[in-house]
Amino acid sequence: MKLMKKLAFMAVAILALGTSASGDKLDKIISKGKIRCGVVLDFPPMGYRDAKNKPAGFDVEYCKDLSKALGVELELKSMSFAQRLPALNAGKVDVVIGSTSDTLARAKSAGFSIPYFVFKLQVMVKKDAGINSFADLKGKKVTAALSTTPETEFLKNAKDMGWDSSNYFSSKSESDTHLALLQGKADAIITTDTTIVELLKSDKYKDYVAGPFVPNYDDFVSIIVKRTEYGMINYMNLFIHQQVRTGRYEELNKMFYGNSPVRKLTVDGIYY
């Protein structure tokens, strides 16, 4: 009887070890059977709500592909651009596939994968606003979403050109920039070329056009996870590589970007 008790105790201990909190995030996701994926849904066509108000978009498809690859259930969490890194570091999500640009400042606080998409930063203005080059933005009221690369790149360029930044204001989210532009609170908004194309398809923006590009900047975006989760980072890198290798990247490009050319995710002269 005593031997049985000992064996039972050992069995329980071994089982407890198996499900203990000593594995890394990847282990936890697999054993929990669920992944929480953060997405930004006011940034079409990477993330938006479709006609039935369901999350849709390139980023949302990548979340679905990821959960399928891991063999776990997907839980999507919608957030604004400014909430991505805080949500990740607070443990509210396991991974964020939300078009997060891979800046060195952010890399101090989050773990970045290899790029999975690339944008050009562009200005959106009213048709007759007379803004034809980046320099025409001087003195105009400009806004972009808080903490995004459109914001940091605009302010960097403005500083290089010697403009004062008092005409710039941050909007709390991407959808706030849309509201600011439509209400005339801003003369121009800085965002990505892809979302401008998408927004201009709707009637609301019939008086608006795509304006000049923000010079000399390719906006590479990555999947982000907690900075200390190396297992996750490695898995994301392989996942992204596989998405391209298997043709899924091209397939989704066609689905969301029609016939526009598939974008190259590498930089010449250096590994990725």
Binding site: K108, S109, T152, F169, K172, K185
Partner: protein
Amino acid sequence: MFDIDYTFHWITVWNVFPEMLSAALVTLEVAITSMIVGLIIAIFLALGKDSKNELFRTPAVVWIEIARNTPALFQIYMAYFGLGAFGIHLSPYIAVLAALIFNNAGYLAETLRGGFAAIPRTQMSASRSLGMTVFQTYRHIILPQVLRIVYHPMTNQMIWSILMTSLGTLVGMLELTGKTDQLQSLSFRTFEFYMVAAMMYFVIAKLVLLGSKLLSRRLFRGDA
């Protein structure tokens, strides 16, 4: 057990602390201005609500009811985005100031009404019979008593005002919360920045409380 593997970088906050301090001054500025202007308007609203003349009563009632029964956030949004839809563009600072004046006036009006109710009506008749005008009576006799009565509820409202300015961040105003949000978005050290901002609000509230205690001792000298 706890999924916390976050290392705090307090130095990032310390490097930009002066900016947070000047934003805290903006917060105080807005809170104090909205209290003072709100109080002045509240006096008229309180008298208006109790007046027998419908021309004064209706606007006063409408103002007080809307101010007290809708969220302050809603009032700020209306001042900034709502007016914006009609083409009236207030800067975030003015929009928040206007909304908080609106809000404070409504709440203070109710507090003042309680104060006015505590003053016997006979005081007005007595001072009128001595030849003082209505205005003089209010100025020298009734209002000083009312202010004494409502002073402590008003300090509550003052602290409430300070904390409500934090909603200004949602319309882009650079008071303490807005500035904190902007600074943490550059370095992504959310926890550190918000913890420091919370402590700053706490300290500001306590300082205002202390200031009001000292002020009350000066204003109401000779009282029990």
